[in-house]
Assembly symmetry: D2
Homo-oligomer: 310 residues x 4
Amino acid sequence: MTQRIGYLGPRGTFSEAALRAMSVSEGADLIPVGSVTEALAAVRSGELPMALVPIENSSEGQVSTTLDELAMGEPLCIVDEYAHPVQFALLVRPGTSLSDVRRVATHPAAEAQCRLWMHANLSGHTVIPATSTAGAAAALTDDAAFDAAIAPAIAAEYYGLEVLADDIGDSSRGTTRFVLVTQPGPPPAPSGSDKTSLVLFMRENHSGALLEILTELAVRGVNLTRIESRPTKRALGDYFFVVDAEGHVLDARLGEAMTGLHRVCSAIRYLGSYPRHDGAAPQTKAWTENTEFLAASEWLERVRATGVAE
Amino acid sequence: MTQRIGYLGPRGTFSEAALRAMSVSEGADLIPVGSVTEALAAVRSGELPMALVPIENSSEGQVSTTLDELAMGEPLCIVDEYAHPVQFALLVRPGTSLSDVRRVATHPAAEAQCRLWMHANLSGHTVIPATSTAGAAAALTDDAAFDAAIAPAIAAEYYGLEVLADDIGDSSRGTTRFVLVTQPGPPPAPSGSDKTSLVLFMRENHSGALLEILTELAVRGVNLTRIESRPTKRALGDYFFVVDAEGHVLDARLGEAMTGLHRVCSAIRYLGSYPRHDGAAPQTKAWTENTEFLAASEWLERVRATGVAE
Amino acid sequence: MTQRIGYLGPRGTFSEAALRAMSVSEGADLIPVGSVTEALAAVRSGELPMALVPIENSSEGQVSTTLDELAMGEPLCIVDEYAHPVQFALLVRPGTSLSDVRRVATHPAAEAQCRLWMHANLSGHTVIPATSTAGAAAALTDDAAFDAAIAPAIAAEYYGLEVLADDIGDSSRGTTRFVLVTQPGPPPAPSGSDKTSLVLFMRENHSGALLEILTELAVRGVNLTRIESRPTKRALGDYFFVVDAEGHVLDARLGEAMTGLHRVCSAIRYLGSYPRHDGAAPQTKAWTENTEFLAASEWLERVRATGVAE
Amino acid sequence: MTQRIGYLGPRGTFSEAALRAMSVSEGADLIPVGSVTEALAAVRSGELPMALVPIENSSEGQVSTTLDELAMGEPLCIVDEYAHPVQFALLVRPGTSLSDVRRVATHPAAEAQCRLWMHANLSGHTVIPATSTAGAAAALTDDAAFDAAIAPAIAAEYYGLEVLADDIGDSSRGTTRFVLVTQPGPPPAPSGSDKTSLVLFMRENHSGALLEILTELAVRGVNLTRIESRPTKRALGDYFFVVDAEGHVLDARLGEAMTGLHRVCSAIRYLGSYPRHDGAAPQTKAWTENTEFLAASEWLERVRATGVAE
């Protein structure tokens, strides 16, 4: 039976482009879903076994809906990630030339990233906000109230459009990171280059609490690749943190650090251990290998049972 | 001559409502500006002496444009802040009743916060995305392609609209924090309840660097009320931090902590010391009062000059 | 069969006075041994099941022989401790008056503590060094080359002497702490007010290593009541530490801290968990109770087995 | 006029041997003094301008009298240090052979270090305790009650003795470190390889206080080469610490660390900055050079005066 995988639609989004580049999509049915919230709801309900959603962008930063859903909705697990370059194109109906373009539809974030090119090449144009770049492309039918869309180039093939200009973003290095999400289940085996995502709620909102959390990780030699603060929506100044720790939940160092966080945080949520998109090995400190934790545990058991001193 | 103060327009925004509530606005000309970027540019150019822009929302989190502009644009200083409750209303042309409403325009973030009320009270409505809530209200003219706008109630008075329902947001505690920004200048005198905002760029992107930063602050007894990570836009995984530290740049403890951060960070930017909106006193640790720093400095000078031992 | 317990002799020492004050001595044969080294050797060989030796004095500090023997000799365990007040007396042969006293024998440390009294009450006296205070008393026979001994008052009864003046020490609060030592065995059950002694050898001799050790303890909320540095006798500047940690080896917080120390130290030796002489409860930090460690471990096991997120 | 320098006598001690090896002794009158306490009192009173006393031994550890005098007596400053190898010899009256030796006088610490050689080479000998090794040599006159003295070989020349066996200590690497002490005065110029000694009294006697102290040092990149705990003589369990920090009081990093210690300690005493005997360069961390502290201070002054942001 064919595997079905959701992604943040409509057809032609960067989510689709990223999903097509992942091996899990081979031979699978790729299903566009209207929003991150709906995609994750479909996974929770079992309608879809998994979905790919954006979580972070190198220019715009955190994708707050994804973070908030993963942190506060019904539990889900991340099982894989992928980093896809963000490359915008100016799409038009066949036959439109640059001088014809007056009104351009796109998502505000895309517009922000293409502003330099737009000012240089399209004087006096108006921007029409759209809920997504692919949505702008999809809406560029003959009777649209606008002449062009800023969208991924792959959207052109779905909607019968032409790429008038490609790679028009201000920064050539823009990248979006996507995560593949499923219902909670046992973690995949460690790959040697893994990341574990956690959501941490503080007992108290002060820097001491964050210092305490970082110390719990540092003492066991666990490095973070990322830390994001998000409001709890309870009050201004009340945050939680989403962190990506290097390593796998089955690693001794990360396991012990997680038990430390479990104690000092008011709540902790495990979001999954999964292979890193960049294949990098963790930066660890000396004397934190699994064998060293095991030797220490065995020594402690021996001391407790027999009083043997060293 | 009348003081001119910019704010994130158009007329009828929460920015205007917040500015009106601040004493600085008394007798001043309040000038709506089209975007955060434009408002800050007008302050930088000297066109406006100061401007009020949103920086944080208790539901949506960071206002990334404001953070990025303050962190990476030409230097500006925050001289005051204000926290304003976010309360959405459903505005209509006079005479429109709830059963007439089919299409509702608003900013996507406002739509997200009013979703529960909308689903309960308006079945089958369509949402029209707008670049701002006040903008949606402003566009609700007789020939608009929509029937209602979700916007601050004060927008009704500017645009000849009626408040069909007030306070329709999901969470009654939504608050936006705004900052009043000027060109850099000497800090105002300490009020006893101040906050200092700093932008910190790391030499290395790992949790050790963040732990080091927090330790520089903790050792001098400086608490943080907020820490936000933002991408540097250089590469995925390359962040900077915007922190709000309790205290004033003229405080000994914060001054010494800032010199420590200056050393360990690759770059640091001072964004201003200003009175806290909540009037709270700083949480400090023992032996970090100005008098204690002064006594320690005097002792050191004595030891260095005379070898006096204690 | 009668229990035999060794102590640092000869008869009449503070060790004997301390041992008599401990309940373990009731009905036991108390055996004086010539030196700390010999007393511990007798326990190691099985000749004596246990021995009481001094480990610390409130004026003189560490008893280096005891620390070095426990740290580097064949393993032994501390099973109890006792703190005994140090109170010196001037002992003489019956009939000797103060004006007859010209030459006074005692251990140099005792002489140091009684110097003020001696200068005030005995002008022009000569001090004869002895290897122990009780030894000086024992040697005060009719044909001794000295007229008085500074020693514990209880020595008078063994050696037929008179107490010419009692409590002649400079500081009225002098106290010696003694430890009762046996061959290694399973630790006694926790009493709620326990101490655990450890010997820690550093991988590197710098303050970073000591900071690392203290951090391993602090993160788990384990307080130290004492830390002593001792030379390893390998080279100047090469030290090990003897620490007394609050709590029992069976406590979760101390157990985990000990595994951390096992990893970061080049060597670690357990010297025993035993009831504190002062009956004080440990100073711990929040969220480090056994139940909290247990809950954290169970959560981790659940996450590892099922991916359950919180 | 000839410089007069005191040392721990009598003639023939290791202190004298060490002092002779230091350049300060060239052309100076070297004055033996009876004890560490007397030598330091002579410097305090002005009777002697400086004195050399032992402070640490690689086998025996701290010289507690020296530490206690420097920490709690009238203030003095260390201006230099020297590490001298400890090498014991068996000294006899001319004509005595090994088989004649029955009773051997020496200081108990020396006896402890020569025990292996003595057992191997002198069966059935008796040890006579002396207050110093050189004192034992000095007392080995024709009518002495003993036949040999364990003492430094140089004592032979003063007292007309013969070296029957040299280098009879158990460990060939024994070293004593001596410090040259004067009245307090301005520190000597930094040499690039300096050490600064400090006495630190805690506000509270727990490991948290020691962790706090080490953190104050570590944050400024100041390494310790040595930390010793000593009892305050007030109560059991009440300690102070004597630390040797790398660097000079005029170094920015050490100066700032000292002000931090001044704040967090209940009392602090400066014991001097002086060239290290081993000429080693300090181990420092990045971004703690004088130029970096200076740049940070200048930046802070600029921010405080003008609000300039970076």
